[in-house]
């Protein structure tokens, strides 16, 4: 196909022909074309099918407001649905496909929906698919879902990368049309740091689409010169292809920059960048969007906005057709006729809804005043139009202008509410604008070129003065105030055929009338009932006409009806851009333990614990599954000695004269009585009396404690301690620092642990049971002078220590401990064996301290001191939390020892029905105990401490399992605790 609609002129580069593919056809365009202009140039009017009725649709606009020409770009993992052809820059090899048809674009099988349209009006789904109720899930919904939607996802991981960035400026100028350029020039010349952002790939806005002159130059030339001047300034950053999509608090704006979308091969560079722009002030110069007039069959390919028709001819050198009629309610439509005629396009008719029209002679055009277009004829493209006076005019394109709407969107992102201006028949910015934002040019209702230039300069100057800049003298260039008279004319009442308001969601005038009849009269209800304005274009071309029609039906004025609220984003932003680099394993940061490298070399498999990766077990040759490894690690530790990296537990260094008093406040038990050189287990409560966290705290000196927290709560506990220190007891002399990362810490557990450590700790330190008993702590040195801290604490219940060295020695320390332990058959163990041994000992962890349980529940009720003040103390004594029959942490074992217990199973008395009314508690943790040879569990059960030996049922409906279990002590191994004191 040749470029039959290509005409002279325009800003495309005719030296550079570009080949692209639309569906199965290879076509040609020029550098500087959009996909839309190139398709039009090739006479490809039919571009897609509509959402609901599968009506043939073509290019309707020339900008980001496009409702119709949505196409799928590229293929494979880079396939992207629902892109607007009007925003897609043409490049060599571009592959686009049309959307939303079953079968070919030309012969869509679902076009049958169009014939069913009498049944498919607003609310159809709500009314029709209500009964029989059971049909919804199995029948209606799958059918509707498969028929609905526009483009298709590739279902492959996105092959592109996305980035995020942060920029700061004095003045952000949004939009690089005449007023935006003028604002940026004024600010740039005054020395302010300026960011000028525009969604187009070519700056200049409507200047590139009009034949209007600025300062004696053509619009595009003046824009080019302005951009060149701005580019020469170090204090100005130009961001084309950048959509400012949201106005946020305190001068922060969100922007999406498309970096490689216009390049065939992005060479691995980020495809798009999501910017956070910090501005002291902003000038919104977002321009205006033309709106259509609704009349019968106004959605056929070939019908387009008059301003878009001007864009295609003036900027791209493309005519929408060979015979182009113009239908307008305002003066602006006439310029489309003028510009097209000047390019040699035949204009058979100008139809103006008004009585009095501009006194302009258009060669070859018949002028119809006080007349409207009532209907169009044609199937996949308009062939003729029918006027209200009955006249039928053959055309292959129709340019429609219903006036212009200022782009007020960003002014509404906070509390701004647009105000109606009768003279413009449009809403302009109103109410409270985002702080620091001024609006200039067409976005502010200054729709003429001269006014836009002047306002861009003036608004920038006001902002600059406020910021303390001396405003450099800038003359506002000369330009005309082109005629802009407009009539309030929204739809053609005489039309009997369906007249589209929202093209993307297939909402017609009739739907709006129906909504009003059925009582959906609030604009917010209208929107949701008809789905008007809820498509990806957010109703940019349809909202105002829809409101006006509703107002007319309801006998109100447009401002009385009001608008729905514009929210970010202004145009769609891909989820990938919001995600940025945070995907896959980088979804969130993860941390490696100091001995990670050693563990990798020794066959560890890793598990995520909080944001850490920890060794869960170390597989040895011959082991067939994880249980083999875990059983061996737990058993060998109890028989000899095991080594585990426990660095991930939070460590908080607490110093100061009031350190002891401070700890008494934040722990439920007392720490001021702890002797120097000793460790104590501590329990923390929330202020509501529920258990929060636990750990051991060592008194290293009179005014120096080292606290440990659970891995999961390390950050939260530190935050709480800072809160207590700064907000609750602000006069205490106490200071905190997190040393979690500073010290690598290892548990060395088992009967041979002392023997092993004796080989590592320098000889002058006496670690005999007498000199360094259970719960002792102190400073030692290892390996000939490396500073270390030694704690005699035990999570496994064995004779055990934890030894800490500066983190940089962590990997070596792990190696040294294992080498020194070789003669004792020492074994590295992971989190699973650690878990098995703690369950064997009945120690509570996150499963038990789950935010629902009290100190009494976990058997530590006596640890809540009543003699001193602490966080949570008062509310922990609420009657419900200290009742005698409260749930208690107990051990459980299956009566049939061969059975496996299930965590989450609920307990029931033997003959009670399995319902919540008879619930006795639940199993929190289970493990296979290699030392006992059967499964064991921990759990909470009502009055558990008085029920040892009782058999209850453990029921898990989720797993379909019920079994008898015996209530036993939670201390399965060494209940008297003799080993750890040995």
């Amino acid at each position: 196909m040749s470029q039959k609609n290509r005409i002279d002129g325009g800003l495309v580069n005719r030296e550079k022909s570009v080949k692209f593919r639309f569906n199965e056809k290879w076509l040609r365009g020029y550098e500087g074309d959009t996909l839309a202009s190139a398709l039009l140039a090739n006479g490809q009017l039919l571009v897609g099918r509509s959402f609901k009725y599968h009506r043939p649709r073509g290019v309707f606009t020339s900008g980001s407001e496009e409702p119709n020409a949505l196409v799928q770009l590229r293929d494979g993992a880079r396939q992207e649905p629902n892109t607007r052809a009007t925003m897609v820059e043409l490049f060599d090899g571009l592959y686009a496909t049309s959307q939303n048809h079953r079968g070919s674009l030309e012969h869509d099988l679902l076009a049958v929906n169009d014939l069913l349209s009498p049944f498919l009006s607003a609310g159809f789904y709500y009314k029709t698919f209500m009964w029989p109720k059971a049909f919804w899930e199995k029948l209606y919904e799958p059918i509707i879902r498969s028929a609905a939607g526009l483009g298709k996802l590739s279902m492959l991981p996105d092959a592109d990368s996305y980035d995020k960035g942060f920029l700061h400026c004095d003045l952000l100028v949004i939009g690089a049309g005449p007023s935006g350029l003028m604002a940026a020039l004024t600010a740039g010349r005054s020395g302010a740091r300026v960011i000028l952002a525009d969604e187009d790939f070519r700056m200049g806005g409507r200047l590139n689409s009009e034949t209007l002159e600025v300062a004696g130059q053509s619009g595009p030339d003046w824009a080019n010169n302005a951009v060149a001047e701005l580019r020469s300034m170090d204090n100005v950053r130009l961001m084309s292809r950048t959509t400012v999509y949201g106005a946020y608090d305190h001068g922060i704006y969100g922007a999406l920059e498309r970096r490689t979308d216009h390049i065939a091969d992005g060479a691995g560079k980020p495809r798009q960048v999501l910017w956070r722009l910090y501005s002291k002030r902003a000038v919104l110069a977002a321009g205006a969007t033309e709106r259509p007039i609704a009349f019968g069959n106004n959605d056929r390919p070939g019908v387009m906005l008059a301003g878009a028709a001007r864009s295609y001819s003036n900027r791209f050198g493309v005519t929408p057709g060979q015979e182009v009629a113009v239908f307008t309610n305002n003066d602006d439509g006439w310029r489309t006729a003028q510009d097209l005629v000047a390019k040699g396009v035949h204009i058979p008719a100008i139809i103006d809804s008004r009585d009095s029209v501009p006194d302009i002679k258009i060669d070859g055009a018949k002028v119809y005043t006080d007349t409207a277009v009532m209907d169009t004829i044609g199937r996949k493209g308009v062939k003729a139009i029918t006027l209200t006076n009955g006249k039928v005019i053959p055309v292959d394109a129709l340019a429609v202008s219903g006036g212009w709407n200022p782009n007020v969107h960003l002014t509404c992102h906070q509390r701004g509410r647009p105000e109606w201006r009768d003279d413009l028949c449009a809403f302009v910015p109103g109410g409270d604008l985002p702080v620091g934002m001024a609006v200039a040019g067409a976005a502010n209702g200054a729709l003429t070129l001269a006014a836009a230039l002047a306002e861009g300069h003036a608004q920038a100057a006001v902002q600059l003065k406020d910021l303390g800049f001396k405003v450099a003298k800038s003359d506002v260039p000369e330009a005309e105030d082109e005629p802009r008279n407009c009539a309030a004319f929204w739809h053609v009442a005489e039309s009997k055929k369906r007249a589209w308001v929202d093209l993307q969601n297939d909402v017609t005038v009739k739907d709006i009338k129906l909504a009003n009849t059925e009582g959906f009269r609030s604009v917010e209800l209208l929107k949701r009932y008809t789905t008007m304005g809820m498509a990806t274009d957010q109703g940019k071309t349809s909202n105002i006409a829809g409101l006006a029609i509703l107002a007319e039906e309801a006998g109100k004025s447009v401002p009385e009806v009001g608008t729905t609220i514009f929210r970010p984003p202004y145009t769609p932003v891909p989820i990938g851009a919001f995600a940025g680099r945070s995907r896959g394993k980088d979804f969130r940061p993860y941390r490696l333990t100091p001995s990670h490298k050693w563990a990798e070399e020794y066959g560890a498999s890793f598990v995520t614990v909080g944001n850490w990766l920890r060794a869960e077990w170390y597989t040895r040759d011959g082991e067939k599954g994880w249980r083999d490894s875990v059983d061996r690690e737990a058993q060998m530790t109890r028989e000899s000695v095991g080594i585990c990296d426990v660095t991930t537990l939070g460590k908080i260094d607490i110093q100061g004269k009031d350190a002891a008093a401070f700890l008494d406040k934040v722990y439920s038990n007392t720490f001021s009585t702890l002797p120097v050189g000793k460790v104590r287990y501590g329990l923390m409560l929330r202020e509501d009396g529920i258990c929060y966290d636990d750990g051991t705290t060592a008194r290293m000196g009179e005014n120096h404690y080292v606290m440990t927290t659970t891995t999961a709560n390390a950050v939260l506990v530190f935050r709480r301690l800072e809160f207590a220190r700064q907000c609750l007891w602000p006069n205490m002399d106490v200071h905190l620092i997190s040393t979690t990362d500073g010290w690598a810490q290892f548990a060395v557990a088992g009967p041979k642990s002392r023997d092993l450590l004796r080989k590592v700790i320098d000889a002058e330190h006496d670690i005999s049971n007498e000199a360094f008993p259970f719960m002792a702590c102190g400073h030692v040195t290892v390996c000939g002078g490396i500073p270390a801290r030694l704690f005699r604490i035990s999570f496994s219940g064995e004779l055990a220590y934890e030894i800490a060295v500066p983190a940089r020695y962590g990997n070596s320390m792990m190696a040294v401990l294992n080498e020194a332990g070789a003669e004792f058959d020492a074994v590295p163990y992971g989190t699973e064996a650690l878990g098995v041994m703690r369950i064997e000992k009945g120690h509570a962890t996150g499963n038990e301290l789950n935010g629902q349980t009290t100190a009494l529940n976990i058997g530590l009720g006596k640890m809540v001191s009543q003699k001193k003040e602490c966080i949570g103390q008062v509310l922990s004594q609420r009657p419900e939390m200290i009742r005698d029959d409260a749930i208690k942490l107990m051990g459980f074992r299956p009566v049939d020892r061969s059975r496996k217990l299930i965590a989450g199973a609920h307990f029931l008395n033997k003959n009670d029905p399995a319902d919540m009314a008879h619930d006795q508690g639940w199993m929190t943790s289970v493990a296979y105990s290699p030392n006992l040879g059967h499964h064991i569990g921990l759990g909470f059960i009502k009055h558990g401490d008085a029920r040892k030996g009782e058999i209850v049922r453990a029921v898990s409906p989720v797993h379909g399992v019920a079994m008898d279990v015996e209530i036993v002590s939670a201390h399965f191994v060494d209940p008297e605790g003799e080993r750890l004191r040995g």
Binding site: H250, R415, E722, W729, M732, Q873, Q877, R878
Partner: protein, 95 residues
């Protein structure tokens, strides 16, 4: 949002963690006769003003200061930022 930290100047809200009503500073006396009622109110009852609100923010990705930020909940305008420790002291909290 941007919070003008009294020590560090304007910082992005992303550096902070939000806690809530600054009345959490006013922790009741545990030995009061009606301590249980007071703590109940302290723990569970909050004003929810449409307008000026004093609230606690923690500069976790920064200097770890707790701040009392006076923010208008309707407009997000921030009219004052103080160190929570100063506020706590001014409200008479002691050891």
């Amino acid at each position: 949002m941007i919070i003008n930290h009294p020590l560090l100047g304007p910082r992005d809200a992303a550096e902070f963690v939000y806690l809530g009503d600054a009345s959490l500073i006013d922790r009741p006396d545990w030995q009061a006769d009606d301590a249980m009622e007071q703590f109940h109110a302290y723990g569970y009852l909050r004003e929810n003003p449409a307008g000026e609100h004093k609230e606690l923010w923690y500069h976790e990705q920064g200097d770890r200061s707790w701040l009392v930020v006076t923010r208008n909940t309707l407009t997000h305008e921030i009219t004052a930022v103080e160190l929570a420790r100063d506020v706590a002291r001014a409200r008479g909290r002691d050891k």
